[in-house]
């Protein structure tokens, strides 16, 4: 069990996951949940702090506090995405993002789409130093990815559990999807809603899908990747019908993927090198003068900077 929990992964995968997660935090601030910033214009009286917000002596958000949080988090997340000072920057980003989320969720609505992301932010500082493309395997990194995977699967499995707790077995035969479509459905959803029994079948399907997600850990590697692809397709349908994106969860779910194979910086370099080589060849009149183009090795170490940030 402990072996499985800390099954080593290439450091390159940890580095790629780290870069992705911290870039997402920056993007989340600006693109995905910009409404958190609008808290500054919502009167403080509507602030109903969550339990953690009451336990920790956190002040009622003021425009100054929200602005400081926003800019500090944005800068630190971008720095953390480089993979440098992974402990100091990692813990800082975790603390600030957690505070940011308490602000976001303390006005009467709690979102459930980012448990996996919060776990990833909590464990990445413990994953050890990791350079992009480094094939050295690391158990610390393996644990960080594994618990993020567990958090992702828990989000599904325990969501089914919550449905049984709050809705009971009637959930599957009720009208929950029809409601969701009325409240935030797309035209595609309106079409689907007209098909008799389809929404009922979908409700049974969702419950079964969520209850079965832990099986992903028992599958052989090949099948696991296909299953994760299926998970992503489930969310694609959700976005296309009831416009619920769950994007922080989707980012956390990349912990299942062989991210070390995705090398945007290396690819970009290779492309530039190839183009330069082609230019040199044409400048030399098509003659090969024996000078090799500076093509980087296939899996050589890359700089510790994140992919395509600049």
């Amino acid at each position: 069990m402990t072996r499985w929990l800390t099954e080593a992964v290439p450091r390159g995968r940890v580095a790629a996951f780290r870069t992705l997660v911290y870039l997402f935090v920056a993007a989340d601030l600006v693109v995905f949940t910009p409404w958190v910033r609008t808290r500054v214009s919502v009167p403080g009286e509507l602030y109903q702090p969550l339990l953690v917000g009451r336990l920790l002596p956190l002040p009622t958000p003021t425009p100054a506090l929200v602005a400081v949080l926003f800019w500090a988090l944005l800068v630190l997340a971008l720095l953390a995405a480089t993979g440098r000072a992974h402990r100091l920057l990692g813990w800082s980003v975790f603390a600030l993002y957690f505070q940011w989320m308490i602000v976001a969720m303390s006005y009467g609505k709690v979102d459930h789409d980012r448990f996996g992301l919060l776990v990833a932010l909590a464990v990445l500082p413990t994953a050890g130093r990791a350079r992009h493309g480094d094939p050295t395997r690391s158990e610390a990194g393996g644990w960080a990815l594994r618990v993020t995977q567990i958090a992702v699967v828990c989000t599904y499995f325990l969501a089914a559990w919550a449905k049984l707790r709050f809705g009971g077995l009637d959930w599957a035969t009720g009208s929950v999807l029809a409601r969701a479509i009325i409240r935030r459905g797309t035209e595609l959803a309106d079409l689907i809603a007209q098909v008799p029994y389809l929404l009922l079948v979908a409700q049974f399907g969702i419950l079964a899908f969520e209850l079965l997600t832990p099986v992903v850990f028992l599958l052989p590697e090949r099948w696991r990747q296909a299953t994760i692809a299926f998970f992503y397709s489930f969310h694609l349908v959700t976005i296309a019908t009831i416009t619920i994106s769950f994007i922080p969860h989707l980012v956390a779910m990349t912990s299942f993927l062989s991210l070390e194979r995705v090398r945007p910086v290396v690819w970009a370099r290779r492309l530039v090198a190839r183009r330069r080589a082609a230019e040199q060849t044409s400048a030399a009149g098509g003659e090969d003068d024996g000078e090799q183009p500076p093509t980087p090795p296939l899996a050589g170490p890359a700089p510790a900077v994140g992919p395509a940030t600049s």
Partner: protein
């Protein structure tokens, strides 16, 4: 002893203590999350139950579509959605009992609107309206009716 000639990457292992601490942290996190799912509520974020869309709705009960709207000094009806006030619809719904108990809280919504639209005519009324959509056998019927649940009017 045969050694695999390829794929012999070096490995960075954990100390026994590092392993134990990680095992403990995982077990503790899982236990708290499980407790949150069994007995918790949203207030226990981030360990509360994942209760998105978890309530059971009878197959023939109408579905509520909540909105907030205001009436300004000129008598025009102003939609007060997230873009207009920065308050999300689900947050209005989440605190609906508070608004019902004390409709003057809706003044805060008017203030949030005024904050973001300094030039706009002031609001003299804010109300929470629920549009009830008919549902039959789990499918929308296309019919609806509006119900104003909470109303605040500026006293003048």
């Amino acid at each position: 002893m045969a050694r695999i000639p390829y794929r012999h990457d070096p490995m960075e292992t954990l100390t026994p203590r590092g392993r134990t601490v990680r095992l403990g942290a995982t077990a503790l996190g899982l236990a708290v999350l499980l407790a949150g799912t069994l007995w918790g509520v949203d207030d226990h974020f981030p360990f509360g139950p994942f209760r998105m869309y978890s309530t059971s709705e009878p197959p023939n009960a109408p579905a509520p579509d909540t909105r907030v709207e205001g009436v300004d000094r000129t008598g025009a009806v102003v939609p007060l959605g997230q873009d207009a006030t920065g308050i999300r619809r689900a947050e209005i719904e989440g605190q609906q009992d508070r608004y019902a108990a004390d409709p003057t809280l809706l003044r805060q919504v008017a203030d949030a609107y005024a904050e973001r639209h300094p030039g706009a005519p002031e609001l003299v009324e804010v109300r929470i309206v629920i549009r009830w959509y008919g549902i039959r056998q789990g499918r929308p019927t296309g019919r609806w009716s509006d119900e104003t649940t909470v109303r605040w009017q500026a006293s003048r």
